[in-house]
C-alpha cells in the first residue's frame, strides 16, 4: 500500500472515530485533535488494527509520538 493510501485510510478512520472531518498528516499529534485522549486512543488503535490487519505492540501503543510514526509502524507490519 502506498504511503498516500495509508494516510487516506487513516483520515477516514480518524474522521469516523472522532466524529468530525479530519485530514491527518505525518505531523498530526494528540494535541491537534480535541477528543484524542487515552480513552479514544484505545478505540483508534483497535480500528487501525482491524483496518490494516495487524496488532500494535505495547511499546508502539505507548510510544507513538505522531501519525507519522503510526504510518511507519503500519508500513513495517503490512
Amino acid at each position: 500500500m502506498t504511503e498516500q493510501a495509508i494516510f487516506q485510510k487513516l483520515s477516514e478512520i480518524f474522521s469516523d472515530v472522532f466524529d468530525e472531518d479530519i485530514v491527518v498528516t505525518a505531523q498530526t499529534t494528540a494535541s491537534d485533535v480535541e477528543q484524542w485522549d487515552s480513552l479514544t486512543h484505545i478505540t483508534l488503535i483497535s480500528e487501525v488494527e482491524d483496518a490494516f490487519g495487524f496488532k500494535f505492540s505495547m511499546k508502539d501503543v505507548l510510544g507513538m509520538k505522531n501519525v507519522g510514526e503510526m504510518v511507519d509502524i503500519i508500513r513495517k507490519n503490512t
Binding site: 485522549d37 487515552s38 480513552l39 484505545i42 483497535s46 505495547m58 501503543v61 505507548l62
Partner: protein, 492 residues
Amino acid sequence: MVFSSTVFLFAFLPITLAGYYFLPRRFRNGFVTLASLLFYAWGEPKFVLIMCLSIFMNYLFGLLVVRREDDAYRRGILTMMVISNLSLFFVFKYLNFTIENLNVLLGGILPQTHIRLPIGISFFTFQAMSYVFDVSLGRGEVQKNPLNVALYISLFPQLIAGPIVRYETVAEEIQNRQESLEDFVRGIRRFTVGLAKKVLLSNSIGLLADQAFGFGEASQLSVAMAWLGVLAYAFQIYFDFGGYSDMAIGLGLMFGFHFDENFCYPYISRTVAEFWQRWHISLGSWFRDYLFYPVSRKMGPLSKRVKQRWGKQAGRLAPSVVGLAVVWLCTGIWHGASWGYILWGVCYGVLLISALIFQPVFKKLVKKCGIHTQSPGFALFQIARTMLLVLLGYVLFRSVTLGAAVDYYRAMFALAGNALTDPSAGFALRNHASVLVLCAVSSTPILGFLQHRFGGLFVSETVKNIACMLLLILSTAYIVSSSYNPFIYFAF
C-alpha cells in the same frame, strides 16, 4: 525526614548539596543514593530494609526480563515481578485491613495483625515496578549496577510522596546528566514556592478544614460551615501535595534531574476527566500506561460481542469502560486500606464511565438548547460543576469513617436539622478571608497570565529573587514557630 523541617532545610540539604558538588562526578550517584537511604532511615530505621529488598528484587527482575526477546518469557517474568511487588505491598498496607474484615465474616477466629505502614511504600513500589515495565518495553536501558537502580527508586526528592517518576523519564539522566547554574537557580525558586504553598497556605487553611471536619454532631454543623470546611480542605490538600511536588521537582533540578510535572491547575478543569489529567498526573499516567492500556487492549473479544448486540458505538466504548472500572477500583485501593477510599475510587469510576456513555446524549442536548460551547459562561458553568463534584468527593476522602461522611453530607444539604449559618462560620470566614483569597488566586494561572501579558516588573529576575527570599524567610519563621506538621500524602 520532612522537607518542611529545620533539620532538612538547615542540615541535610546544605550538607548533601555541598558533598554532591564537591565530589568528582563518578562518586556523585553513590553519594546521593547514600544520602537518600539516610533520609529514609531517619524516619524509618527498620523499614529502610524493606525498601532495600524492593530495590534488589526489581534490580534482578530488570536483568531477567531483558535476557530473552520472546513475549511469553517476558510476560512470565513481568507476572512474577508484579506478584512479588504487590505481595510486599499487600502485607504492609492491606493485611491488617483484610484480617479485620475477614474476622467480621468469620467471627474473629484470625489473630489480628498490627503491621505499621512503611512511609512512602505506595510510591516507591509503583516506581520500582515502572523500572521493570519500562526496561521490558525498551523505554530505557537496563541497569547492570544495582546502585543505579537504588538511586532511581530511593532518590530522596521524590521518595516519600512522589511524583512517581517513570523510569523512562530519568533513565538517561541517571548516567549522563548535566547540572547547570540555571537549573540550580530554578530549582531553588521552585522549592521555595512549594515550601510556601505548604507552610503558608496549606497549613493555615487546614485549620479551617480541621475545625469543620472535627464536628461533634451533624446538627451542630451549619450548612455554611460545612461548605466552607470542604472548600478549605480542597485548598489544603492541593497546596500540601502540589507544594510537595514543587519541592520535589525543585530539588531534582538542584541535582540535575528533570522530573515531569505532577499538577497543572486542577481546579480550573471543565470536566472530571480533565481534573484527573491535571491532578496527581504521575499516578494517572502510571495507571494509564501500565494498567489501563494493557487491560483495555485485552477486551477485543468483549468489544466484538457488545458490537453485535448493541451496535458499533457501544462496542467501541466497551474496552474503555472495563479499563476505567479496573483503574478506578485500583486508584481507590491505592490511596489506603479503608472502605472510604475504595468507595471514593468507585464513585469516580462511575462518574467517568457515565460521562463516557452519556457523552453523545449531552452533546445532542447542548446542541438542541442552542448553547454556545465555546462561550465563557458555559466554561464557568462547567468549571463550577466539576468543582462541585470534586468537593463532594473530598468529603468521602477526608472523613474518618463512612458514617462521618454521611453526617457531613447531611449537614451540607441541611438534612441534619442544622442551621443554615452560625456565628462560628462568619468568624471563620473573616479569620481566614485573606488566606482563602490567596489560595483561590494561586489555584489559577492568573499570575502566569499577568507575567505573560504585562512583562516588566513581573518578569524581572531581581523581583523574582526578592520575592523568593521573602517567601523563604516567612516560611522558615512559620516552620520554627509551629509544631510538627507532616504532609497529607505521607499517609498513602
